[in-house]
């Protein structure tokens, strides 16, 4: 492992732990009132994990599209690897969003799945980016694989905000997520602090994963190349 990714990974891990501490011990608890009784919804704590994961996922997916465009413009192989690695990391985080989202839904609303706009949006994104990997594996020639991968990463990245916007149209009636009633109403003070620490930690952690993955892709490319050279003799 390279030094840079090691530092990033440790910094990210520390921040994430700090975020968990802040979330549980400093940030205010979510409270619901039922018949004059106050109930603390601890499930809301997953918010400090779920949302940073989601935002990290979006950052990397958009980055994938950006590097895809750079590849098409310059035809430099390194941009293609950067695009592919970004989509991979983004995809892992999208799946994490789904898992944490489903857990939260289950704990809060008592069902495993709810056709709620944002959850639906992420399900669509999961399927769309699954398509990206299926597409790549379905193209044999290396250069065509890179080209189509880059093109679809751009199309998908463009579609990400559109999917979010469509989710806000009236047909899917929003069930909620703005609804966790908090003592401090909007996000401020300790809650914001906990959120930002988690958010920043998640980004650092994801970036370290990204760098490692990129190194791996480059090494693999080098090995493939050397193998071919040996075969040809």
């Amino acid at each position: 492992m390279k030094k840079s990714s090691l530092i990033l990974a440790s910094a990210g891990a520390l921040l994430l732990m700090a975020g968990i501490y802040l979330a549980f011990f400093v940030a205010p608890d979510a409270v619901v009132r039922i018949d004059d009784r106050e109930l603390v919804r601890y499930s809301q704590k997953i918010f400090y994990f779920h949302v940073p994961v989601a935002e990290t996922a979006l950052v990397f997916l958009l980055l994938g599209g950006f590097f895809g465009a750079m590849y098409l413009g310059t035809r430099k192989r390194s941009y293609e690897q950067m695009s592919y690695a970004a989509v991979e990391i983004g995809f892992i985080f999208v799946i994490l969003v789904m898992i944490t989202g489903i857990l939260w839904t289950r704990a809060d609303w008592g069902v495993w799945w709810e056709w709620e706009p944002r959850l639906t949006t992420f399900l669509v994104l999961t399927l769309m980016y699954a398509g990206y990997f299926v597409l790549r594996s379905s193209v044999q020639e290396e250069s065509a694989k890179a080209r189509f991968g880059a093109i679809f990463s751009i199309i998908a990245a463009v579609n990400v905000p559109l999917t979010f916007m469509a989710g806000r149209l009236d047909s899917l009636k929003p069930v909620h997520p703005k609804v966790f009633t908090l003592q401090g109403a909007s996000m401020e003070g300790p809650m914001l602090a906990a959120f930002l620490v988690s958010m920043f930690g998640m980004l650092l952690f994801a970036t370290s994963l990204y760098i490692m993955r990129l190194d791996l892709l480059r090494a693999r490319e080098d090995i493939e190349y050397l193998k071919e050279e040996l075969e040809v003799g």
Partner: protein, 254 residues
Amino acid sequence: MPKQMAELLKNEKQPYTGAHAEIEVTGLSKYFGKRKVLTKISFELEKGGFLSLFGPNGAGKTTLVKILSTLVAPSEGTVSVAGLDPYKNSAAIRSKIGLISHSPLLYLDLSAEENLRFYGAMYGVDNVDARIDELLEQVELDHRRYDLVRTFSKGMMQRLAIARALLHRPSVLFLDEPHTGLDPHAVDIFESLLDTIRQDHTFIMITHNIERGLALCSKAMILYNGQIAFYQNKADLDTEMFNEIYRRKVKGEC
């Protein structure tokens, strides 16, 4: 003669190159990442010349032709076709080149005439009706001009494909394994047609057919692993050497 070329050609009998080369390739390389598809290809083809291109699958023959016909951008080196750079003047070059491939490049559900008319519109051919009449007569298909291409035999399709390729009066013709799938009779017709257009065009032909390839060409080249393994004028072609290299490189015998 460019320096790289002299280095590359270890054969003593280097081909003669005229002053006005129709196709000029210097130090052409194409790579993807570190993988090289073509490495430092240099050659020249004079106006009216005929280059036969041999080599195993994956040797880079198709990529070379695609670069010359503006479909693929080279990574390194310079290319000039009819005095133009394919990558910079792609539209201008495309109206000067034609392709006869092993697939006919024809729409099966259109008639012979409709196919030609469609490509005529693509190329902006002037007086397209007169040109179509002339060509259909030349390839002896005017009696079938309103029939769907779907009903044509393989040989007829190939003849129509030639008419299609000549429609816009190209000066350079690329032939991509044109003999594939043709019966001997169709080959005869095809080659007599080639004969009639031979002097006004420059040809590059990809082929696996040694006999036909050597008979037709003015220069022969074997590509292997993205490099020129053999390149000679037909006038002083060392047949033994050609066969030796062909056997070793293309067929993979030792």
